[in-house]
């Protein structure tokens, strides 16, 4: 037993002695609860003078699908001369004016001075000379899971704080950026402080999400018992910079890791972004990061934890293992990486199983390959000095090739061996006319024929309906592409929708070795973000029994199904190669991830160029292109009304586009 415990027990004993006068055990116990409540109230009173009510005026009415308040929210005083921290959530609607009611009751205007884009905080300065009360802060090192935490806001009244009580659930969450509490955290207290039983501030309450980015990320967890507060001890050192108006940005290294399982795979570099801090420091593909800032790194998750809380401009010490040597490096993190551009040499590979190189199926006119006189039927065997076994190896080797240097290819044409040098260009956005067949040889004979036709995909724990349609000619030796169709909400209730979908996709599936996988929403009223994981499960289930090709797996759908396709592809890039969104926007509040050398994504959009939402859709195409993605757009303006989607121009184009997803 520790001294601390003895102390508290002594107090308790004294209390018992006092209450013994009333000779009632009930009363004694009641007093313990009373004391607890008094302690909580004292803590609230202690920090209350450092809370301000913020009112925002004007700005957007909606951010994403979410309504946002033009109304009241909370801020926490951090300096006596009028600096206040709040949550970026409260300003997502970009208000035109910000008013702050000071603890004295005086109302004043305030301005946003700087933002912390890593922890989603906002620094405000009020337009007043009044001296403000700075609360006491407690360092993160002193926190213990299980201790009392009290979350405060000033949403309901400028005079009294609103309170929620809970315990500290974790001290190191969202990649080291936050502490976690089970007190109820919501827009009612975002921007307010989380305090301990002595009224000392642990951190500022904000919504956060380990995966999603943006001001609203994590707010769907409001009042759930999972709430976050950002400790500001790490922030104080950068406070002067923020006061000058400099935003704090998350620190980026510019690497991609090999493997997808962050809790088991080592931090082996899969790709180094061009012109990134990692590249400048000499980090190479194949290096394994084993230490960062003194923390040993065995698994990728540890790297994320160490890197997560760092800001741009910070210098990190990294140890990498390269073959048998350990190399020590120092890298200064950046806030922005040059977007990765996928290289293109201008060919489509044959899809026959191969181990000795890539046979060319088609050469794009005017492409680097065409200009270098490469022709269909050529066999690419080497890139530089490296032997190439198959098309996916060629694709990933090219992706990590320095884009400023030319590419040396060794090509086998009949008996002849040729050395060809070419400069890569960028992925084309036009759709090629009729392409030659993708297979030269007959598929291997099968001892046992796999199940084809319509099959139900069942997820025991989910309400979503799902089915697949596998073409007659499917052969496990030939990985099939997948048309991952996100059905309109409620549509799968009707047998006729199912039939229409099969009818629409049957022919392309048979012709181009594709499997149709249809997933419906759990709820008839619409898709929800979290269902991206359900869709993934359906895809995983299909890939358990069928051999599928991720680069030719296209997430697609119309309207809300199309928007869902974006979400699924952004979240599960390692199993999806393309998105085809028909009359569908990227859901607002969702930021597309940066282009990734190892997990390529291609985009196809179809909408009416003169339709009412054309400007919105075109804006999305534009922002994806600005991120250096290849976006193929087709105008879907109807020439004639038709019940049957299959004659529609945009579907014909889409089917052609899908057959060229494996271009290199």
């Amino acid at each position: 037993m520790t001294t601390l415990n003895k102390n508290s027990i002594t107090k308790f004993a004294c209390m018992l002695l006092i209450t013994l006068g009333a000779s009632s055990s009930q009363l004694a116990a009641q007093d313990l609860n009373q004391l607890e409540q008094l302690a909580i109230q004292a803590a609230v009173e202690r920090v209350a003078p450092s809370l301000v009510q913020i009112e925002t005026l004007g700005g957007l009415e909606k951010v994403g699908e979410q309504l946002v308040a033009s109304g009241t929210c909370t801020g926490t005083v951090v300096t006596a001369d009028g600096y206040i921290l709040s949550s970026a959530f409260n300003f997502a609607q970009k208000p035109t004016s910000i008013l702050v009611t000071l603890p004295s009751g005086k109302r004043t205007t305030a301005k946003i001075i700087a933002r912390d884009q890593s922890r989603m905080l906002v620094l405000l300065k009020v337009n007043s000379d009044e001296q403000l009360t700075v609360p006491d802060f407690i360092e993160r090192e002193k926190l213990q899971v299980g201790q009392w935490t009290i979350a405060l806001g000033k949403t309901f009244s400028p005079d009294t704080a609103n309170v929620s009580v809970g315990v500290l659930s974790a001290v190191n969450r969202v990649w080291g950026k936050a502490v976690q509490t089970d007190a109820k955290i919501s827009p009612n207290n975002y921007g307010g402080p989380l305090v301990d039983i002595h009224g000392r501030v642990l951190g500022i309450l904000v919504p956060l999400s380990p995966q999603a980015k943006g001001e609203l990320a994590g707010s769907d967890w409001y009042d759930s018992g999972i709430g976050f507060a950002v400790p500001i001890d790490g922030l104080l050192a950068r406070f002067e910079k923020m006061k000058e108006g400099t935003d704090l940005m998350p620190g980026l290294l510019g690497i991609n890791l090999k493997g997808a399982d962050i809790v088991s795979d080592p931090a082996e570099i899969g790709a180094v972004s061009y012109n990134s801090p990692a590249q400048k420091a000499g980090i190479e593909v194949g290096d394994v990061i084993i230490k960062m800032n003194g923390n040993s790194i065995v698994r990728q998750a540890q790297l994320k934890h160490t890197l997560g809380p760092l800001y741009s401009g910070e210098v990190v010490k990294i140890s990498v293992r390269r073959e048998k040597k350990t190399i020590e490096l120092e890298v200064e993190l950046t806030d922005k990486l040059v977007p990765f551009v996928h290289p293109f040499i201008g060919i489509l590979p044959m899809r026959d199983a191969s181990a000795s190189g890539v046979v060319i199926r088609y050469v794009y006119p005017d492409s680097p390959a065409a200009n270098a006189k490469i022709v269909a039927g050529d066999l690419i065997t080497k890139l530089g000095e490296k032997q190439i076994a198959n098309s996916s190896e060629l694709r990933s080797l090219l992706a990590t090739h320095d884009p400023e240097k030319s590419v040396q290819l060794t090509i086998q044409r009949g008996e002849e061996s040729l050395q060809i040098e070419l400069q890569t260009s960028t992925l084309p956005e036009t759709i090629s006319e009729d392409l030659p067949a993708a297979f030269a040889n007959d598929a291997a004979e099968l001892a046992e024929k796999p199940q084809t036709g319509e099959l139900e995909i069942k997820l025991q724990e989910e309400a979503n309906k799902s089915f697949a349609w596998v073409p007659e000619g499917y052969n496990p030796s030939r990985p099939a592409g997948v048309i991952l169709w996100h059905a309109a909400p409620g549509a799968l209730e009707k047998e006729v929708t199912k039939k229409a979908l099969i009818k629409l996709w049957k022919e392309p599936c048979e012709k181009n070795n594709l499997i149709l996988l249809v997933v419906g929403s759990a709820n008839d009223s619409g898709w929800s973000r979290t269902e991206a994981d359900v869709v993934r499960k359906c895809l995983d289930q299909l890939s358990n029994s069928y051999s599928i090709d991720p680069i030719r797996t296209v997430a697609t759908g119309k309207k809300s199904g199309g928007s869902m396709s974006y979400l699924v592809a952004f979240k599960h890039r390692e199993v999806i190669g393309a998105v085809a969104a028909i009359e569908a926007p990227v859901p607002r509040g969702t930021t597309p991830p940066d282009a990734d050398p190892l997990n390529r994504l291609l985009f196809f959009t179809a909408y009416e160029d003169k339709g009412k939402d054309a400007t919105k859709f075109a804006g999305i195409d534009k922002s994806l292109r600005a991120m250096k993605y290849s976006v193929t757009h087709v105008d879907s303006t109807k020439e004639k009304e038709s019940e049957d989607n299959s004659d529609k121009h945009e579907y014909k184009q889409l089917i052609r586009w899908i057959d060229s997803l494996d271009r290199i």
């Binding site: 027990i9 055990s25 409540q37 005026l57 308040a69 008013l99 309901f156 929620s164």
Partner: protein, 349 residues
């Protein structure tokens, strides 16, 4: 009986503990036992006062059950006025599992409460005279049959939490679509669940403080609100219903509006054209000789408050003015550049 035995055993343990405490050898377990026993015995005292109510509903999203609690030994049940009571047969199941057909004694739709009557005697009940008012960060217990989890003689469910705030729903006039706009306790436990409506909110001594409200979400930010209506707000109504007097209903909010309200033209303020759904109320010009001119309202002023109400659009400004009589003073606050300026309009000559 069981209760007594337990208490005896407990007292013994506490006595024993005390001896150790003096010797500074007290163990943790006795503390724990104490804190627990006080709450659990108290909960056992409160639970017999809670009833389960079954009536109309059962369609999608509308449950056919709610909660209520006894306020007299003769079977008066206080509950929420809702569609569940809109049924020819209302069944009340008491804590001991007995089923009764209840009559509606009366209701006050403005407060969204109703009193039911069942034919029974000697029932354990809350004494309304012992009810208490709560303040923020007080610990509370919420008793209800949420999600209709309990049936027959199963006791009701208990949730614990803290009073988050004491506020008025009308503080955000358009935010909540309820008839009741008065004072509420906002609670940090998730108490407003299907079926919890009409349940009891008590302090940690088990004293009655409020009736659990309906499921309600803010139309401004879509956040679910967990609230309870204070007993103090409804004492008059309850007494009127129990005495079978007709309820002296205060006029609803629409009726609060004066017949001749103040308007922007009367003040002499011309705003920028109202073209958006939420056009901010910027002053375009001020009519010469008007009260606005006398009070030095200037073009480009942004009107942000009328009295204590934040107005973020021209629509909200007009709505707020409609509550003020044309002869009364109008207190507004404008944003002029970076300065906040208080202005009084409509002063008598």
């Amino acid at each position: 009986m069981i209760q007594t035995i337990k208490n005896n055993r407990l007292s013994k343990r506490i006595l024993a503990s005390l001896v150790f405490a003096i010797a500074l050898l007290l163990t943790h377990s006795s503390q724990t036992a104490l804190a627990e026993s006080s709450l659990s015995s108290l909960i056992k005292e409160v639970q017999p006062k809670i009833v389960k109510i079954y009536g109309a509903g059962g369609l999608k999203g509308l449950e056919s059950y709610q909660s209520g609690f006894l306020i007299s030994a003769q079977g008066h049940v206080l509950t929420a006025w809702s569609y569940v009571l809109d049924s020819s047969v209302i069944t009340v199941v008491t804590d001991d599992g007995r089923r009764f057909i209840a009559e509606i004694q009366g209701a006050d739709p403005r407060l969204e409460i109703a009193i039911l009557k069942i034919e029974a005697e000697d029932l354990t009940h809350f004494n309304l005279d012992d009810s208490v008012a709560l303040s923020p960060s007080e610990r509370v217990l919420a008793f209800s049959n949420l999600f209709s989890i309990a049936t027959g003689n199963e006791p009701s469910s208990v949730l614990h939490g803290y009073v988050s705030a004491v506020t008025e729903l009308k503080a955000k006039r358009s935010a909540y679509r309820t008839t009741y706009k008065g004072k509420v306790y906002i609670v940090d436990a998730i108490v407003n669940n299907p079926g919890a409506t009409g349940g009891a909110l008590t302090n940690q001594q088990g004293q009655l403080a409020g009736v659990l409200g309906k499921e309600l979400r803010s139309s401004i930010n879509n956040i679910w609100l967990n609230y309870s209506i204070p007993i103090s707000e409804m004492r008059d109504s309850i007494e009127d219903i129990l005495a079978e007097r007709s309820i002296n209903r205060r006029a609803d909010e629409e009726m609060d509006k004066p017949s001749q309200p103040i308007t922007l033209p009367k003040l002499g303020i011309v705003l920028l054209p109202d073209i958006l759904n939420k056009t901010p109320p910027y002053v375009d010009r001020v009519i010469a000789g008007s009260t606005a001119e006398k009070s030095n309202i200037q073009p480009n002023d942004l009107i942000i408050f009328v009295g204590s109400m934040l107005v973020s659009s021209q629509k909200e400004l007009r709505e707020e003015l409609s509550y003020i009589d044309q002869d009364d003073l109008v207190q507004i606050m404008v944003l002029r550049g970076d300065e906040l300026v208080d202005v009084t309009l409509n002063e008598a000559e």
